[in-house]
């Protein structure tokens, strides 16, 4: 063995678990042995690359991982996609639909995986859902109550990239800007380029405000990929070792 450290796999310490609010009925928090790590950020902020790198790193260290993300539930993901493409749902409805999708994954993927001792990597969590709604003028107290069902993660990283750079990254990747990621439903501008920057600026300001109450880690996502990965690894190592 080249690296003897890899033969002994470190067991992460137990987390102090709590829900944001009233939580899910019947869940025994002390049974959730795994870790929940969330990566937040706009499209083009490097979320998926970072998660892929983290999965690779964690598995090499001997930790089992599970990945979740928004709009991936068995229950409503198809219907949600359809509704979004038609842009026919009003605000509260869309918000509750997303919450249903989230709850389904929380109960059927995240909680069982944590019970089984997995490290769950969430490609976005309730913060994006809340920020999107807050930017659209939804009531903060209403959202706080709704997502009181969610489990508080062990670590949350928000990859922050300036809107000007997000535009460049999205265009070089897809040659187009996504309707929803540009906030076109808000009518900020008829020009999608313009709307994208305004919307992403508003989203960033909202994330900054939320950071003050939820205390997640803001990570400078403009740096090279491997530099960001190294910084995440350092922080996650601390989380896994923490008493």
């Amino acid at each position: 063995m080249k690296n003897p450290a890899r033969q002994t796999v470190a067991v992460p310490s137990a987390s102090e678990r709590r829900f944001f609010g009233q939580g899910i009925p019947g869940v025994k928090l002390d049974e959730l042995a795994g870790k929940l790590i969330v990566v937040e950020g706009a499209d083009g902020s490097g979320r998926s690359s970072q998660i892929a790198a983290l999965v690779n790193w964690l598995e090499t260290l001997g930790h089992a991982t599970v990945q979740v993300g928004l709009k991936r539930s068995t229950l409503v993901s198809e219907e949600l996609e359809k509704a979004q493409n038609g842009n026919i749902l009003s605000r509260t409805t869309l918000s509750l639909f997303y919450a249903t999708d989230f709850a389904d994954q929380l109960e059927n993927t995240i909680l069982p995986a944590l019970r089984a001792g997995f490290i769950v990597l969430a490609d976005r969590y309730i913060y994006t859902l809340m920020a999107r709604d807050l930017v659209r003028g939804m009531d903060a107290a209403w959202l706080k109550n709704l997502y009181g069902m969610a489990l508080k993660p062990d670590a949350v990283f928000y990859l922050e990239v300036p809107p000007e750079e997000l535009v460049q990254r999205n265009l070089s990747k897809n040659a187009t800007l996504d309707y929803w990621e540009s906030g076109m439903d808000l009518g900020l501008s008829r020009d999608v380029f313009d709307s994208f920057q305004k919307y992403q600026t508003a989203m960033q300001a909202t994330f900054r405000r939320m950071q003050r109450s939820y205390g997640f880690t803001i990570v400078n996502g403009s740096r090279p990929v491997d530099v960001v990965t190294a910084s995440l690894q350092k922080k996650i190592s601390a989380v896994l070792a923490a008493k």
Binding site: Q22, E79, L96, D104, G148
Partner: protein
Amino acid sequence: MKTFAQLGFPGRLIAVEGLDGSGKSTQIYLLKRWLEAEGIKVYFSEWNSSELVKSATSKGKKRELLTPTTFSLIHATDFADRYERHLLPLLRAGYVVLCDRYIFTAFARDVVRGCPPAWVRGNYSFAALPDLTFFFKADLEVSLNRILDGRPKLKFFEAGMDLQLSADPYESFRIFQGRILEQYLAMSKEFNFTLMDANQRIETQQSIARKIVRERIDLDEFRRHSPLPLPPPVQPQAAAAVEEEDSAV
């Protein structure tokens, strides 16, 4: 929480609540027929009927994928869709909107399933209160017998089988309905339910319901200014053709 009238809406919302088999759907249907005949602008909306959410709900129910939390949220989504797309614009336009079940159904049912009461109520807090809520109170046995008489095949969630109250769907249904009734009665005063004795004859209940609606809502304000368009008159030639056919037989 305020009613639509208190919020200055020109329209009014009347809701009926009660257990399955309490006869509430029959009563609200008869109210609708009466109001239509009176020339009132009226719209009827049913619980769990939004087209868009329906496919997800029925998939969830058929495959028994729902937990108390997702059951609650998917019904809230359905309600929000109907509320924002139909109820609000109609109430702005001065309609009398009749709802077969309203938010109280969720308050009762989701709490029996174990959801935190404050969480459920908070999720529905975007909705205004009805201007009039009838609660059809029948003896538990009467409601149960109306549903169970034909020994119908009870659906999984309908019978509350997810609560594991009993392995027998009929027994489970009985316990489940009993608990829902308790929840309804506990909020009756808080939400100013108008209690209807659902053990009475259909006609007796309907007379009382119509009288209460008339007392509480000034119906003249909700009349159509022009009568509903009549069906097109039968073409004289077509009518003649039918007659000829008749005489040929």
